[in-house]
């Protein structure tokens, strides 16, 4: 190998370092190190190695019970989200452009509305004087207000509301890549609608179902907002135990031990998923287009095939029993039953937050129906320096996170898509790991590290922490954009005499602009809505908006919060609307 070639390859390695280095450094310093520290604390005390924390963890059944409850809530949530989310994603993937945009808007609005706002809305809705109780009373179904809150049911409703949009969007990304000619081909080959669905469409959508399942499950297992706000004492989840250990007793070692347990469960879930379906189905649209041959063994595949045939036969039997379906409707038109179901679900996940709006202008507190009209609650918010400062701080941290995540995430995406760097799969897994590791563990680890270097309570620390959890989304978005980008345009530019930098400035970036803008907004919104890290890293001072919201709502349920919720809801609505407009304008070009 000539010296020139060696120099060239050395130059290439330097460019890899320049592009991927910042992101690698960030993740090592603010993900690997803090989480490692926390895990280390669980087996280490002043006198050296110890398993005392783990002995305590398994000494009584208290903690194991909490783990079981956590698993139960997460599992049921996942099941409900996937089953009800599937028809929604299906409808969105088959309807025309206009209606798709409408449906997607409501899913996205719900997706981007803060977990806190949605959980709070359910508190109000399900309360003793809430809409549901008032409705049931007026219909004469019950004679005195029922206790709808603080039980397993209310937690489940809140969790499903929180995670259904995620399930829909995950499944949608796979369904959109299913060739619509396939079910039609099945029809011409003699498959009735039910059979065509179960034998052709459903197996092809399975990677999406699996990805949605694991995303929802892993998110649910690390959740604390909904169970804390909507659950009773029997619905405590494992993450709340960690919060208690830190906030009440500062017991780092025990918090570390619980974290290990949580992480362990998550890793088992991922390992099982990988065994069954392969993790590659999760990471890229490329995988979805080219499904791997099932790794299920032959007899298992046979059983699956028989099962699908049975399902298809049953569906077709049911369809043929349905009274006088209009036969001459367009075969591609989705059924009315499906449409009704989807709109009902979208109503259920959007309505609570929408009902918050009239209540925030009411004089009579949060009781339904709202009485009178007043701007008092909004005046209270704006007159309170605590709220206004929290808002400003959230905006600042959000913009900072958006910029930082975009600045270090975009080059990394370039590196993963364009370069021939070895071990791409491993790099991608590393970059996406902040999504996999439960947020609570990252938050507690960061708190520990920040406390040692004096970053607690600073905006900079918060930006760093938020960037860690936002950057995977930026990388994924930019990778998708880059994969669709026609590199021949760059070649054309350079053949026309543009130097590399000029090519970037005049050709690449203008075309990628919309993608970069949307990944910025994604990172901004992630930070703007982030509570877990803020819960600790703000150190009780300098609260962000979600932190302030959390402090208030755990203290008392007041109409002031309804006013803040309304503001947040409208702000997010406008943001999505703008992002969508930007995206469409870019697409139309």
């Amino acid at each position: 190998m000539g010296a020139k070639q060696r120099a060239l390859s050395q130059g290439r390695i330097w460019s890899w370092v320049a592009m991927g280095g910042p992101l690698g450094l960030l993740l090592v310093l603010f993900l690997v190190y803090p989480v490692g520290q926390l895990l280390l604390l669980s087996i280490h005390n002043d006198s050296g190695f110890t398993l005392a924390q783990y002995r305590q963890l398994f000494a009584s059944s208290v903690y194991v019970d909490v783990l079981l409850i956590t698993l139960k809530i997460s599992l049921v949530t996942t099941l409900v989200c996937v089953v009800t989310g599937y028809p929604i994603a299906y409808l969105i993937s088959v309807v025309g452009k206009e209606r798709k945009a409408t449906l997607l808007f409501w899913v996205l609005l719900s997706f981007w509305t803060s977990f806190l706002v949605r959980a709070f809305a359910w508190i109000v809705l399900l309360g003793r004087n809430g809409v549901i109780n008032k409705l049931l009373l007026s219909l004469g179904i019950i004679s005195s207000p029922a206790n709808l809150l603080y039980n397993f049911g209310s937690v489940l409703v809140g969790m499903v509301n929180a995670l259904l949009p995620l399930a829909v969007l995950t499944m949608l990304s796979v369904m959109e890549n299913i060739d619509r000619n396939l079910p039609r081909a099945a029809a011409t080959l003699g498959a009735r609608p039910g059979m065509a669905f179960w034998k052709i469409y459903f197996p092809l959508s399975l990677p999406g179902v699996a990805a949605a399942g694991i995303m929802v499950f892993v998110t649910a297992i690390g959740f604390f907002i909904v169970p804390a706000l909507l659950g009773g004492r029997r619905d405590t989840m494992i993450t709340q135990l960690i919060i208690d250990q830190i906030q009440q007793t500062m017991n780092w070692g025990f918090a570390g031990a619980i974290s290990v347990l949580l992480l362990f469960v998550v890793l088992i879930v991922f390992a099982a998923y990988d065994r069954l379906l392969g993790l590659s189905t999760m990471t890229g649209s490329a995988a979805a287009r080219k499904p791997e041959p099932s790794r299920l063994s032959e007899p298992l595949a046979k059983v699956g095939d028989v099962l699908l045939t049975v399902l298809g036969t049953i569906s077709d039997a049911i369809i043929s029993l349905l009274p006088s379906r209009r036969r001459d409707r367009n075969p591609d038109q989705p059924g009315l039953g499906l449409q009704a179901f989807v709109w009902t679900m979208l109503l259920i996940i959007s309505l609570p937050t929408v009902l918050m709006i009239p209540l925030s202008f009411g004089k009579g507190g949060l009781n339904w129906p709202p009485q009178g009209f007043t701007l008092h609650w909004y005046e209270t918010v704006l007159a309170s320096p605590v709220w206004t400062q929290a808002m400003l701080r959230s905006l600042m941290v959000g913009v900072g996170t958006g910029l930082l995540a975009m600045l270090i995430g975009t080059p990394a995406a370039f590196l993963l898509v364009r370069s021939d760097i070895p071990g791409k799969g491993a790099w991608l897994a590393f970059i996406l790991s902040p999504i996999v590791v439960p947020r609570m563990i990252i938050a507690v680890g960061l708190f520990y590290v920040f406390a040692n270097i004096g970053l607690v309570g600073s905006a900079f620390g918060l930006i760093l922490g938020h960037t860690v959890v936002a950057v995977p989304y930026v990388v994924m978005t930019m990778m998708a954009v880059l994969r669709n980008y026609d590199t021949r345009l760059d070649h054309a530019a350079s053949s026309l005499g543009a130097r590399p930098f000029a090519t970037l400035r005049h050709v690449t970036f203008p075309i990628l602009g919309a993608g970069m803008m949307s990944s910025f907004l994604f990172a901004f919104a992630t930070s703007f809505d982030e509570l877990t890290i803020a819960l600790f890293a703000t150190g009780g001072l300098n609260a962000t908006l979600p932190k302030q919201f959390w402090d208030e709502v755990t203290l008392q349920v007041s109409p002031v919060i309804a006013a803040v919720s309304t503001c947040l809801f409208i702000f997010m609505g406008l943001l999505i609307f703008t992002a969508e407009r930007l995206r469409r304008r870019a697409a139309a070009r």
Binding site: A185, A187, P331
Partner: protein, 364 residues
């Protein structure tokens, strides 16, 4: 093999304000190979979808062997479709793909396996049975799509631009293959393409469509030699179209006057009725336009360009007379054939039997 006739009566389809198919009637005989030809947006794919049952007509009827199937769902029609992008099921092996229609018809497993292998033999790919579609080349996928369609012996097979994604050589080969299978199975085939050469090569009859309606229906010879409209003349093969006026009509042809040239000339009709004084277009195919050195009489023009494209040499000539478009003449390429000098004057002539009169419809 079973084969059915197809009758279409007043079939139409709109999407909003857009007329995808104006009321259209068409008869296809048992075992016929009919091609729907036309530019994109001409309604040929719409017509195909309606026949397959993948879209529903606004009006009209579809009869298969005189039985009304207009309101039957696609799965009950017994019409096979070969899709443009093949639509092979990516999660099934080749074998399972081909056996799928048999399974839907509850054919026994042993019988299904036998017929699957038979279909694979027919398309000459018996060794790929266990592979997945993505492991095959485009041409192989095309054959599998064909095998999946013929395996259940549908009475009518519809093909939607099945060779569109293949390169020229493979396309020529597959054309022969499809013709062979058609001969062997004697199935009725309705074939959609926008490639006029493909249509000419393969079809018993061509149905040329334009703007959602049938422009002309007939044998390839009919369409090529007796185009009914300027559009047909233009779409099928190359043509020179000259404006002219009818002077007289007799039993053998027409006396005409070419525009901007007093000299009278003769042309044959395309089957339509002409009246004296009517403005017409006269079509002369390039291979029928004879080019000689200037002075031989007839039309004179200046040679603009010479192009050799393989077996044919094309001469582009700008007539000296105002009001006539640039003309093209073609003759077989021979080595050492006299070089034509660009810019030189030439005279043009043609046999009156090769000049076809077409009603001047403005060339919609």
């Amino acid at each position: 093999m079973v084969s059915s006739s197809l009758r279409i009566l007043g079939l139409s389809k709109r999407y909003g304000d857009f007329v995808a198919l104006a009321p259209t009637s068409l008869d296809v005989a048992k075992g016929e190979f009919l091609t729907l030809l036309g530019p994109s947006g001409s309604g040929k794919t719409t017509l195909l979808s309606l026949i397959a049952g993948l879209a529903h007509p606004d009006e009209g009827q579809i009869l298969v062997d005189d039985a009304d199937v207009t309101h039957s769902p696609a799965y009950a029609r017994d019409i096979g479709v070969v899709f443009q992008n093949y639509a092979l099921f990516p999660h099934m092996t080749v074998e399972d793909n081909i056996a799928f229609p048999l399974k839907m018809r509850k054919v026994s497993e042993a019988e299904a396996r036998r017929r699957t292998m038979e279909a694979l033999e027919t398309v000459r790919l018996p060794h790929v049975a266990k592979r997945f579609p993505r492991e095959l080349s485009g041409g192989q996928q095309q054959r599998i799509a064909l095998a999946r369609c013929i395996v259940y012996r549908p009475a009518i097979i519809l093909m939607d631009e099945p060779l569109g994604a293949l390169d020229k050589k493979l396309r020529d080969q597959m054309q022969l293959e499809i013709k062979r299978i058609h001969r062997e199975l004697r199935t009725t085939i309705i074939y959609v393409t926008h490639d006029q050469e493909e249509a000419m090569t393969m079809s018993d009859r061509i149905c040329l469509m334009n703007a959602g309606a049938i422009e002309q229906l007939g044998t390839p010879e009919d369409l090529y030699f007796r185009p009914r409209s300027v559009f047909v003349a233009d779409f099928l093969g190359e043509s020179n179209l000259l404006s002219a006026t009818v002077r007289d009509v007799d039993a053998h042809g027409l006396d005409i006057a070419l525009a901007a040239q007093a000299a009278p000339s003769r042309a044959v009709g395309n089957g339509a009725q002409f009246a004296a004084g009517e403005p017409i277009k006269v079509m002369v195919r390039p291979q029928n336009l004879q080019v000689a050195t200037a002075g031989a009489g007839g039309l004179t023009g200046r040679l603009v360009d010479v192009m050799i494209s393989g077996s044919l040499t094309r001469l582009y000539i700008a007539p000296e007379v105002a009001g006539l478009p640039q003309l093209v003449a073609a003759y077989p390429t021979r080595s050492g054939s006299a070089p034509h000098e660009i810019g030189q004057l030439v005279s043009l002539a043609w046999n009156p039997a090769d000049a076809v009169a077409i009603r001047d419809d403005g060339g919609r």
